[in-house]
């Protein structure tokens, strides 16, 4: 069980910079998620830790050891691939046993160990089958078993849930989380699915275009995103982000663009730098009459316990999350209210302006 430290890591493919001076510290026993859209470099980072790619610049430490020049097998990491990459010509038992066989374990010890691991993963009745003969979820467990059988110090998972159907994915999420807790192995999990990240991780690093934009626990990431990219990427449906300007009117600050004027309340002077505003759907409320800004309902999506309503103020649209069923129809006028305590402001560099949330 070791920590993983990444120092000033840069990776280039030819002239393309895939990772740009990345620093990360992953504590021992942590369930660490690398979250980012495709092309953000998250999978490359995982492959660098595994040793499948060469480091261009910087250093990777596993435990105390610098592993830049070590072969994958010398790093004692295990990896589960997106397509599981089971050996198609071997049955599940031999798939799990192969890492031990090439390490020269005795037949008896291998049998015992494979039995133990397959019991942990509930696949003991599949050992005689070939990968093609078992379902996607079972293949995933077989791949996990193959990875875990040699007691790795770091466990790397490259979008292992993306090939499962929705129901299985939710099950696998819970299963993985529980398994990781039981085994206490440092785990690095790559995904582009923010729901996957927030439900499983103890800590999340958000990557965008080869740089880490934020490392935080899931809740902090959701409530206090460092920048406009993270704000938009984490959360579903995405945060409402509106371009505009912050101006001081009388004693209060006001956010405005051509469609709306919104009083922000008392904020520090710093807030005046804001050029965009973000507010999550659950921090908006909608009513037929009353206070708030005038808007027109354009779309209603009932999901049962909650309803998402898209409203327009001029050309600016917002998604509002409301609880329960709603008697609003598309095309009708309504009033929208903003929870002023949960409005985020971003400067023209895309960074969040800190003064907003606290006041």
């Amino acid at each position: 069980m070791s920590e993983v430290v990444i120092e000033n890591l840069t990776k280039k493919f030819g002239k393309t910079v895939v990772l740009d001076h990345v620093d990360l510290k992953i504590d021992a026993k942590e369930y660490f998620v690398l979250l980012g859209p495709s092309g953000s470099g998250k999978t490359t980072l995982l492959r660098l830790i595994a040793g499948l790619e060469d480091v261009t610049d910087g250093a990777i430490y596993i435990g105390e050891k610098k592993v830049n020049d070590l072969l994958p097998k010398e790093r004692n990491v295990a990896m589960v691939f997106q397509n599981y990459a089971l050996y198609p010509h071997l049955n599940v038992f031999d798939n799990i046993a192969l890492p031990l066989r090439v390490r020269g374990w005795s037949k008896e010890k291998i049998k015992q160990k494979v039995r133990d691991v397959s019991e942990t993963l509930h696949i003991q009745n599949l050992l005689e089958k070939r990968p093609k003969q078992i379902s996607g979820g079972e293949q995933q467990r077989a791949a996990l078993a193959r990875a875990l059988v040699r007691d790795p110090t770091v466990f790397l998972l490259d979008e292992p849930l993306s090939n499962l159907d929705a129901k299985l994915r939710v099950e696998a999420r819970a299963f993985l989380k529980k398994l990781q807790k039981e085994l206490g192995i440092t785990t690095i999990f790559v995904t582009h699915d923010q729901a996957e990240a927030t439900t499983m991780a103890t800590k999340i690093a958000v990557l965008n275009r080869g740089t880490v934009t934020q490392v935080d626990d899931p809740y902090a990431l959701y409530m206090k995103p460092n920048d406009i990219f993270t704000a938009g990427f984490v959360g579903s449906p995405a945060m409402n982000i509106v371009q505009g300007a912050v101006k001081r009117a009388d004693s209060e600050l006001q956010f405005s663009n051509e469609d709306l004027k919104l009083t922000l309340g008392n904020l520090t002077k710093d807030a005046e730098r804001g050029v965009s505003m973000g507010v999550r759907p659950e921090h908006l409320t909608l009513a037929k009459k009353g206070e708030g800004l005038d808007c027109i309902v354009s779309n209603v999506e009932p999901l049962g316990s909650i309803t998402y309503v898209t409203v327009n103020i001029g050309k600016t649209s917002f998604i509002v999350q409301l609880s329960g069923k709603l008697d609003l129809e598309a095309g009708t006028p309504a009033k929208i209210e903003f929870d002023k305590n949960n409005i985020l402001l971003f400067g023209d560099d895309g960074k969040r302006i800190d003064s907003t949330a606290t006041n």
Partner: protein
Amino acid sequence: MKKFSILVTLLLTLISLTYLFPLYWTLITALKTGSEIFSRPPIFFPSQITLSNFYSNGNIFGAVSETAIGSVPWLVDSTLIAILATLVSTFLIAAPAAYSLVRYLRSVWLGRLILFMTMIPEAVFVVPFFLMVAKMSLLNTWWGLIVVYISFTAPFSTWLLMGFFNDVPKSVEEAAQIDGLSPYQIFYRVSLRLVTPGIIAAIILNFISCWNELLYALVITYSPFPAGAQTVPLFLTSFIIIEKEFAWGGLAAAGIFTMLPTLILGVYAQRYLVRGLTMGSVKG
């Protein structure tokens, strides 16, 4: 649509008949009596079937000369030469070469060059090969022919297998790398196993071409029987002129007999051949 498919079926039937006719003709010739073989007009459906061309009065294949006392030594030579050449060329040369070309050199250009090599007519190299084999003192030996057959079969198998190795998912090899397999182990324990259909296709094609090869066998091992090594096609040539006469019946019977291994192989391995030649084609 239906008209079209009838037309296609007709055309295919015609083509198949063209290919099958020589086989049929050989078969009925082998089963005809001596007079019917030479009758004019030719007889397409023999009135009487006889096995005397295969065996009669202790003579195999109607042996009329002492050089054709039986096919066993030739069969042994042919079998051993074809098997050895095929195995060495497929496993020791083509498979490792194809793998390293695909995974390490990543050169499509080199792959094409290798395919191009297979298109050069064999006759072009007769003289240089004869001289080389002679210099190695391997004339009239198995090894002389084996060396030549390896060098003729390896390029095509290499090209064929390149397509198969290309289809092996990279992540499987990477998983093996992380699991602790050395590059050699990845090749031997994982990738080679995954291209089994290609290996089988290569083995069958190589075996058939070694089995049927006449030109080099004639040049490199042609000395009066019993020589150190003579393959089945040479055995068949011994029927052509026996005292100014063509021993058609014996030749046909021996021909049928010696094509059996390739026929059986071909029928048994048809699905591998089809898969091997279509699925494993190099893209680009």
